[in-house]
C-alpha cells in the first residue's frame, strides 16, 4: 500500500513533450484513473510510475521514497497490460507464479498463493492450462491474478479492458474494482473510456496533450466539467458558443444564433435545484450530493467575450408548452436506445441534444416533426475555455 506523488513530471520523446509537468497525489488505497484520448500522455505517466521509462524532469515518489530512477524490477508494482503480456510459453500457474519466483518465495507458499490468487479471479482449476488456450476474458483475469499475487504496493492497469467485448468489459470492470477494494491496494487505472472511469474511480484526472485538464471525483467531473475539453469528453453534452449578458436584470447566455438561455442568479448556482420535470429520468445527477467544493460557475461582470454553455442532454426536455424557457424546433434525428430515446433538434441554427425516457409522451416524435424544447437554465454550466 502506498501513496504515490508525482511532482512536476515531464517527459520528452526526442524533442516532443508528451507529459508537461504533471503534479498530483494518489492517496493510499485510492482507485485513481488517468482518463484521456490516445496520445494525451496517460500511458507514458503510467510507464514512468512503473519504471519502464524515466522522466525528463520531475520526480515520482512512493510514500516518502523517491523512486524516480529505481529500476522497474525493484518497485513492487503489479501491472496489467493492455494486451495482458502473458508469457505465451508458460501455463497459467507458471505465469502467476513468476513474480513469486523472482522474489524467491518457497515452493509450497507459491502453490498456496497462486491458488488463492486464481480463486480471487475465479480461475481455480485452470492452473495447468497453457495460456494461449484461454479466452480473452480468462487471459485478462490471469493477468490480474499475476499482478496482485505479489502483493504489490501499487496496482497499475493500462487499458486492461480494451480487448474485451462490451458485456465482459462491464463484468471485469466491476471485478477489478471489487478486488482492489478487498485487497486495499492503491490502483492507477489508464483508460480512454469515460464511462469506465466514472464507474470505478475514486478520483479521475482528465488529460489532454500532456496536461491535466481536471482532477476530481467522478460526479464532480461529470456534472461540473471545468472546461470545454472535459465537457466534450464526457459524452454527448450540448456545448454552445455565445456571450453572457444581462436582460431585464437577469443574467442570460446569448447563443451566436440569437437563442438566449436565462441563467439563475450566480448565488443560486452554488447548489443547483433538482430537476422538477414531471417525466424526469433517473439521472445520475440526482443520486449524488452536490460537491463540497462547488463554486459559482460564472460571473456576468467579469465574463467578457466568448463563453460556452454546457448542458447535459438528459436535463433538456421535449415539451408541448409554449412558455418561457422553451424554444421551437424540428427533430432532425432520432436514435432509439432502449430505455431512452436520443433526439437532435434543430432550433433555428442551434443543434440541441435531448435525451427522453422511452416511456415519455413525446418520445415517439419522428424526424421532420415540429417540437418545442425546454432548456433548463438552472442546469447550465458556463465555461470560459
Amino acid at each position: 500500500m502506498a501513496q504515490v506523488t508525482l511532482n512536476r513530471l515531464t517527459k520528452h520523446f526526442d524533442d516532443t513533450p508528451v507529459v508537461k509537468g504533471i503534479s498530483l497525489t494518489v492517496a493510499d488505497g485510492e482507485f485513481f484513473s488517468l482518463l484521456g484520448p490516445s496520445g494525451c500522455g496517460k500511458t507514458t505517466i503510467l510507464r514512468m510510475i512503473a519504471g519502464f521509462t524515466f522522466p525528463t524532469s520531475g520526480t515520482v515518489r512512493f510514500d516518502d521514497e523517491d523512486v524516480t530512477h529505481v529500476p522497474a524490477n525493484r518497485r513492487n508494482t503489479g501491472m496489467v497490460f493492455q494486451n495482458y503480456a502473458l508469457f505465451p510459453h508458460m501455463t497459467v500457474f507458471e505465469n502467476v507464479a513468476f513474480g513469486l519466483r523472482t522474489r524467491k518465495v518457497s515452493g509450497p507458499e507459491i502453490a498456496d498463493r497462486v491458488a488463492h490468487a486464481l480463486g480471487l479471479v475465479g480461475l481455480a482449476g485452470l492452473e495447468q492450462r497453457p495460456v494461449p488456450q484461454l479466452s480473452g476474458g480468462q487471459q485478462q483475469r490471469v493477468a490480474l491474478a499475476r499482478a496482485v499475487v505479489i502483493e504489490p504496493d501499487l496496482l497499475l492497469l493500462d487499458e486492461p479492458l480494451s480487448n474485451l467485448d462490451a458485456k465482459l468489459r462491464e463484468e471485469t470492470r466491476d471485478q477489478i474494482r471489487e478486488l482492489q477494494t478487498k485487497l486495499g491496494i492503491t490502483a492507477i487505472y489508464v483508460t480512454h473510456d469515460q464511462e469506465e472511469a466514472l464507474a470505478v474511480s475514486d478520483r479521475i484526472a482528465v488529460m489532454e496533450e500532456g496536461v491535466c485538464r481536471q482532477l476530481d471525483r467522478p460526479d464532480v467531473i461529470y456534472r461540473r466539467p471545468a472546461n470545454r475539453f472535459v465537457a466534450a469528453f464526457m459524452g454527448n453534452m450540448n456545448l454552445w458558443e455565445g456571450v453572457l449578458a444581462t436582460e431585464e436584470g437577469r443574467p442570460v447566455f446569448r447563443h451566436t444564433s440569437g437563442l438566449t438561455v436565462v441563467l439563475p442568479k450566480p448565488a443560486a448556482t452554488a447548489s443547483p435545484p433538482r430537476s422538477t420535470s414531471q417525466d424526469s429520468l433517473p439521472s445520475p445527477l440526482e443520486d449524488v450530493e452536490p460537491p463540497d467544493d462547488a463554486q459559482p460557475v460564472y460571473d456576468v461582470e467579469t465574463s467578457e467575450g466568448t463563453v460556452y454553455l454546457a448542458l447535459h442532454p438528459q436535463t433538456v426536455r421535449l415539451t408541448e408548452d409554449d412558455t418561457a424557457g422553451t424554444v421551437g424546433g424540428v427533430v432532425s434525428a432520432r436514435r432509439f436506445k432502449g430505455a431512452t430515446v436520443e433526439f437532435t433538434v434543430d432550433a433555428g441554427g442551434v443543434s440541441i441534444q435531448v435525451v427522453e425516457s422511452a416511456e415519455g409522451p413525446l418520445a415517439t416524435r419522428q424526424p421532420g416533426e415540429s417540437v418545442r424544447v425546454r432548456i433548463p437554465g438552472d442546469q447550465a454550466i458556463i465555461l470560459r475555455d
Binding site: A72, A85, F87, I150
Partner: protein, 574 residues
C-alpha cells in the same frame, strides 16, 4: 474418341473446368516424380547392389570397423556441423541482441553490413579466406613481417579453417532469425517480467530465451544442414581430413559408383533424420504472438567510454566482414603469374577486366551461368508457386505428401542431388523422353532447378499463407472478375514474397558450385568452374575477376530484391 472430340462435348469440358487442378497435377506430378522421387529411389536401389549382388555389402563396407575411413568422414561431417552451429550461434545471437536492444552511432549501417557474407557465393568466400588467412595468406605474413617473426604467427588450414569459414558465412542465419524473432516479440512481455521483479538476466533466461527457441531451432537446422552439405570449404581446406560430402565426390571421380551412392544414402539419411528431429521440436514450441502491447524501444548507449568501445568494436567488425570482399577485389587486379612468394601482389593491371571486351570466350561462363540460372529459376517459379498454391489453398487429400516431396531436395546436400541425377539419367528414361542427360547441357540446369525448388516453394507458401481469403472474396464481391481480382489483389500481395524467393533461387544458381563440379560439361561450364580452373592454373587475377563479376551480379540482384519487396511489403502491411 480423340481428346479434341471429347473437349467438344460440353459435359466433359464442364467437368474439366470445374476441376482444373486435375490438369495441373499432370505436369506437376510428372516433374516431381521424375526429377525428385525417381532419382532418389534409384540411388537407394543401386546402393543395395555390390558387383551385381543384391544385399547390404556396400553398407557393410561403409560401417566396417576395420576400415573406418567412411565412418570417420561421417563423424567429421557431423562434428564440424555441430561446431559450425555453435560458432555461428555464438556470433549471430549476441549481434542480433545488441542491434535490436541498443541504439548507438552507426547502428543501422553496421546492422546492414552484418548480412554481407550472404552475397559471397560459396567458392568465392572460401577463396578469399584462402588468400587472407592460409599459411601463405596475406594477414599471417603481414603480421610476421611487421613483428619480424621467423614464421607466420598463425595460419588457417584443415578442420579449423573449415569451421571458421562456416562461422563467417553461416552466423548470418542466426543473426537474421534471431533479429526477426526479437522484432516480432511483444516488448510488453519483457516489461511484465521486469514489473514482476525479474532481473535482466532472469527475464532473459526465463522469458526471452524460451520465446527465441523456435528461431534458434530454425537457424540451427539451417546451419547444420548447410554445414553437412558444405563442399567448397572442405574441398579447398580439408587436406587429409575426411568429409562425407567430399568423399562422395572422390569416390565418383575414382569410378566407385557403388560407394558413391552408398555414401549418398547415408548422408541423406542423416540429413533427413536431423530435419525431422528438429522439426518436431520446433513444432512443439511455436507460440503465436498476439498483438503488441508496446512499441520496441532501443536503449541508447550513453557513457563516453561505452560509446567509444561500441564504435571501435563496430569498426573492427566491419573490417573483418569486408576483408574477404576487398581481398577478392584486390586480387582481380593482379597480373596472372606475377604473385609468387611476395607477401602482397606486386604487379597490378586492369587486363583481367580488359579481356571482358576483347576475348569473346571470356563471356562464355558468365553467359552459361546466366542462362542456366534463368532456365532453372523459371522452372522453379512455375512448379514452386503452383505447388505452394495447391498445398496452402487446396483442399484435396495428399497435400501433406506434396509438401514433403517438394521439400525433399532441401534436406539433400548438393552432392547428393548431383549423384541422384547422374544415376537416374545415365540412361534414357520416360522422364527425359528417352534421352541420356549425363554429358548434356541439361543435367546442370535440372540440378539447379531441383536444388532451389524449395526456396521458391517456401517463399510462395509463406506468401499464400498470409493471404487472407476474404480479400479475394471482397474483390469478387465488389464486382472484380477472377483475373482482375488475381491481378489487382492476389498478385500484389503474394508478389513480394514470391519475388524474394525467386531472386534468391536465381543468385544461388548463379554461384552454384557443389552440383556444378560433378555435373558440368564444357558447353555449360558455369562461373564457379571457370574460377576453379583459373585457380588451378595459378591465374589468380583472372579467377578473382570472375569472382568480382559474380559478386556484382549477386549484389545487384539482391539489392533489387530488397528494394522491390520492401516497398510493396510495407504497403501491404499498412
Amino acid at each position: 474418341m480423340t481428346l479434341h472430340a471429347a473437349l467438344r462435348r460440353p459435359r466433359v469440358l464442364y467437368a474439366l473446368m470445374r476441376q482444373p487442378r486435375v490438369l495441373v497435377f499432370i505436369p506437376l506430378g510428372f516433374i516431381i516424380l521424375g526429377y525428385i522421387v525417381y532419382p532418389a529411389a534409384l540411388v537407394l536401389w543401386e546402393s543395395l547392389f555390390r558387383e551385381g549382388q543384391f544385399g547390404f555389402g556396400n553398407y557393410g563396407e561403409f560401417f566396417d570397423p576395420d576400415y573406418p575411413s567412411y565412418m570417420e568422414a561421417l563423424f567429421n561431417s557431423v562434428m564440424v556441423s555441430v561446431g559450425s552451429v555453435l560458432l555461428s550461434a555464438l556470433i549471430g545471437v549476441p549481434l542480433a541482441l545488441i542491434f535490436t536492444h541498443y541504439e548507438f552511432p552507426g547502428r543501422s549501417v553496421f546492422s546492414a553490413l552484418t548480412t554481407l557474407p550472404i552475397v559471397l557465393p560459396p567458392l568465392v568466400g572460401v577463396l578469399a579466406f584462402l588468400f587472407l588467412y592460409s599459411e601463405s595468406g596475406m594477414i599471417p605474413r603481414l603480421i610476421q613481417a611487421a613483428l619480424g617473426l621467423e614464421r607466420p604467427p598463425f595460419s588457417l588450414n584443415g578442420v579449423w579453417a573449415v569451421l571458421l569459414v562456416h562461422g563467417y558465412t553461416m552466423y548470418v542465419f542466426f543473426y537474421l532469425f534471431t533479429s526477426a524473432a526479437l522484432r516480432g516479440m511483444d516488448p510488453a512481455v519483457m516489461e511484465a517480467a521486469r514489473n514482476l521483479g525479474a532481473s535482466s538476466w532472469f527475464s532473459f533466461r526465463t522469458v526471452t530465451l524460451p520465446l527465441l527457441t523456435p528461431a534458434l531451432v530454425g537457424a540451427t537446422l539451417l546451419v547444420f544442414m548447410t554445414s553437412m552439405n558444405s563442399f567448397s570449404a572442405p574441398f579447398i581446406f580439408a587436406g587429409g581430413f575426411r568429409f562425407l560430402s567430399l568423399n562422395i565426390y572422390t569416390s565418383k571421380l575414382n569410378g566407385d559408383m557403388a560407394m558413391a551412392v552408398t555414401q549418398t544414402v547415408v548422408l541423406s539419411a542423416f540429413s533427413i533424420a536431423f530435419l525431422f528431429w528438429m522439426r518436431r521440436y520446433e513444432g512443439r514450441r511455436q507460440y503465436a504472438m498476439s498483438t503488441k502491447g508496446t512499441a520496441n524501444v532501443r536503449r541508447e548507449i550513453r557513457g563516453r567510454w561505452a560509446r567509444l568501445i561500441a564504435g571501435a568494436a563496430g569498426i573492427a567488425m566491419v573490417v573483418v566482414l569486408l576483408l574477404p570482399h576487398l581481398t577478392i577485389l584486390l586480387l582481380s587486379f593482379v597480373q596472372d603469374g606475377t604473385w609468387t612468394h611476395q607477401i602482397l601482389p606486386q604487379v597490378y593491371t586492369s587486363d583481367n577486366y580488359g579481356r571482358l571486351f576483347q576475348d569473346p570466350t571470356f563471356w562464355e561462363p558468365i553467359r552459361n551461368s546466366l542462362n542456366m540460372a534463368v532456365i532453372s529459376t523459371a522452372a522453379d517459379v512455375a512448379i514452386g508457386v503452383t505447388a505452394a498454391y495447391l498445398v496452402v489453398k487446396g483442399t484435396f487429400r495428399g497435400r501433406k505428401l506434396l509438401d514433403a516431396l517438394v521439400m525433399v531436395p532441401w534436406a539433400l546436400p548438393g552432392t547428393v542431388v548431383a549423384i541422384n541425377l547422374i544415376v537416374a539419367f545415365s540412361h534414357g528414361t520416360p522422364f527425359s523422353f528417352g534421352q541420356i542427360l549425363v554429358g548434356s547441357f541439361w543435367l546442370l540446369p535440372i540440378a539447379y532447378f531441383v536444388r532451389h525448388l524449395p526456396i521458391v516453394f517456401r517463399a510462395s507458401s509463406a506468401a499464400f499463407r498470409q493471404l487472407d481469403d476474404s480479400l479475394e472474396e471482397a474483390a469478387r464481391n465488389l464486382g472484380a472478375g477472377w483475373f482482375y481480382a488475381f491481378r489487382r489483389v492476389t498478385l500484389p500481395l503474394i508478389g513480394p514474397g514470391v519475388l524474394a524467393g525467386t531472386l534468391l533461387a536465381f543468385v544461388t544458381a548463379l554461384g552454384e558450385f557443389v552440383a556444378s563440379i560433378l555435373l558440368y560439361v564444357y558447353d555449360n561450364r558455369p562461373i564457379a568452374m571457370e574460377i576453379l580452373s583459373h585457380l588451378r592454373q595459378f591465374n589468380i587475377g583472372s579467377a578473382a575477376a570472375y569472382a568480382v563479376l559474380l559478386l556484382l551480379l549477386v549484389s545487384v540482384v539482391l539489392l533489387g530484391s530488397n528494394f522491390f519487396s520492401r516497398g510493396t511489403a510495407q504497403r501491404s502491411l499498412s
